[in-house]
Amino acid sequence: MMMFFYKRIWFINWLPAGLLLMTSLGCSTGYQLSKSNRKEYVIDQKTGADSTVIKAYLPYKAKMEAEMSQVIGHSAILMSKKSSDTLPESLLSNFFADAVMLEAKKVDPSIDFGIPSTKGGLRVDLPEGNVTVSNIFELMPFENEVVVYQLSGQQVRELLDFVAATNGQPVTGLQLKIKDRKLITAKVNGQEIDPAKTYRVLTSDYIGGGGDKVPVFKDIKDRKSLGLKIRDALMGYVREMEAQGKLLSSSLDGRIVKL
């Protein structure tokens, strides 16, 4: 533990002023700081626990654990967060992007393509077998919302240059070919990008605000919030697959190909 001691000097020359103040107002509390020290406590199991606080949160904890451990779907495969072997795509990236897109299209069918997160934004693996509410919370712990931006053909190119330069990101609705982190060809739903056309692009409010250094979106005023959280979109997709008796799955389908 570090502590320190010192004296403060800045009252020294206040003597006459202080006297004046005391006599004229007569109401100063009359204390002066002379010394301070400091300590920091690490809080661990040796600290001991206040049982009244535990009692206060236990009902919340019990309800939360019941909710979080609920199985809402089943996955055929492990989708790993680690993507270095498979970049520019990953099983988790493709699953995440497609799931969010499918749910968002129920609200707004006009969306052309999407980049709902960066790969760094995918926090943990999605396991094989039981998928719980907790798994989805851990995958997407933030309260980010789905937002749809209107981009020009030129702005779409700039965005996809970023995807190429960063060796792939979770995308959906695109077919990209990249070489040496440069974009070689790009198609939106099988069509060449038309510079004269505007595109409706899904992302999160976080990415849209320039989060994770994603360019383009933050300068664009034309945006629409769908009132759908990214996590709720994922949750909705998993529940729907389960209701249809389908297993969750993903594949490296060549949406981003490295030449």
């Binding site: 533990m1 570090m2 502590m3 320190f4 001691f5 010192y6 004296k7 403060r8 000097i9 800045w10 009252f11 020294i12 202080g18 006297l19 007569g26 109401c27 100063s28 509390t29 009359g30 204390y31 002066q32 700081l33 002379s34 010394k35 301070s36 400091r38 300590k39 920091e40 406590y41 690490v42 809080i43 661990d44 199991q45 600290t47 001991g48 626990a49 206040d50 009244t52 606080v53 535990i54 206060a56 949160y57 919340y60 904890k61 309800k63 939360m64 909710e67 979080m68 919370f137 712990p141 933030f142 309260e143 919302e145 409010d205 976080y206 605000g209 320039g210 933050k218 919030s225 996590r231």
Partner: protein, 318 residues
């Protein structure tokens, strides 16, 4: 005049308290501080400031999953520690520098209710707002205020045109052992950090100007013996963005900045020379309630016949 009466009463209390305090902590001569002389001159009184920042809904300790902070933190342990300190110390202020919300499913499921209730149970005296406290929008924060038995201090967020109007205070003056401790809150710019819809019509006021105006008011008009700023600006940045370091160097009347946002674990607090030539101390206690910060201030009755000299820092492993 009423104020003066209160002062006299508290002064009597002060003398009693100071006697116990001075005998209790036994300051050595090596610190250059003569407790007996201080006593003779009218005594001294100790104020203990305990602080957290960026607790991020960490109600329970980090799980034992091999992660860096496994097994650390936890509200029940923090409460036990605070309880022990309160039993030892007469004048304690417990403060938080924001980002109470977000980080565990407790927030996702209950929206901050648990965090506010536990902070109230621990006896927090005040907190300011961090950017993540806007994560469920102004509505989301406002909804949790009935669970917070302590004031939320925000000086540079103008909520006048929002439903948060009147829900926060710019500052609060706490009276402890006859001393007046002024505490105010300074927040970070929300634009770009928080989704627009989540802060709505909140006006962001210049942090440096607002902090100076408030600290000057607390010191000069409201006679505060100590001025504390709860800041969610962040400790330091490579660019020119306003940080605690910028605020420390650019203010006149802040004694202590309790920082947050950058989750900085500071080995020792940093003392910065401020515009008035005095010292503004910055301290931050990491995040997630892994640590509890503590700073003790000793106050002496103003001496009229002595000139005090500065003593250098003495940093020990105590």
């Amino acid at each position: 005049m009423d104020k003066c009466h209160k002062f006299k009463e508290s002064r009597r209390n002060f003398i009693r308290q100071a006697t116990g305090a001075a005998l209790g902590f036994g300051i050595s001569g090596a610190t250059g501080f003569d407790a007996r002389a201080a006593l003779k001159d009218g005594g001294l009184v100790k104020l203990t400031i305990l602080h957290t920042n960026d607790t991020h809904s960490r109600v329970e300790p980090f799980p034992m999953d091999g992660s860096k902070y496994q097994g650390l933190g936890g509200a029940a342990r923090r409460a036990a520690l605070i309880g022990r300190i309160r039993a030892e110390e007469q004048h304690v202020l417990l403060l938080d520098a924001g980002d109470i919300f977000q980080g565990t499913p407790y927030f996702n499921l209950y929206g901050g209710e648990v965090e506010m209730k536990l902070m109230t149970a621990m006896g927090y005296d005040a907190a300011t707002m961090g950017n993540h406290d806007f994560d469920n929008g102004l509505e989301g924060f406002h909804k949790q205020l009935p669970h917070a038995g302590f004031p939320i201090l925000c000086t540079n967020y103008d909520f006048s045109d929002t439903l948060m109007k009147g829900a926060t205070l710019p500052y609060q003056v706490f009276r402890k052992g006859g001393m007046r401790i002024g505490v105010f809150g300074i927040g970070i710019e929300l634009k770009g950090l928080v989704a627009d819809v989540n802060f709505g019509a909140t006006q962001y006021l210049d942090p440096l100007k607002t902090a100076n105006k408030t600290a000057d008011l607390l010191r000069n008009e409201l006679d505060c013996d100590l001025v504390v700023c709860l800041s969610h600006l962040g400790y330091s940045y490579e660019n020119k963005k306003v940080s605690d370091q910028v605020l420390a160097a650019g203010n006149r009347n802040i004694d202590l900045i309790i920082g947050g946002h950058t989750h900085t674990f500071m080995e020792v607090p940093e003392d910065v020379k401020n515009l008035a030539g005095g010292v503004t101390t910055i301290n931050q206690a990491g995040f997630a309630g892994i640590n509890l910060g503590r700073i003790d201030y000793y106050f002496e009755k103003k001496r009229r016949s002595h000139v005090k000299f500065a003593a250098p820092y003495l940093i020990t492993n105590g």
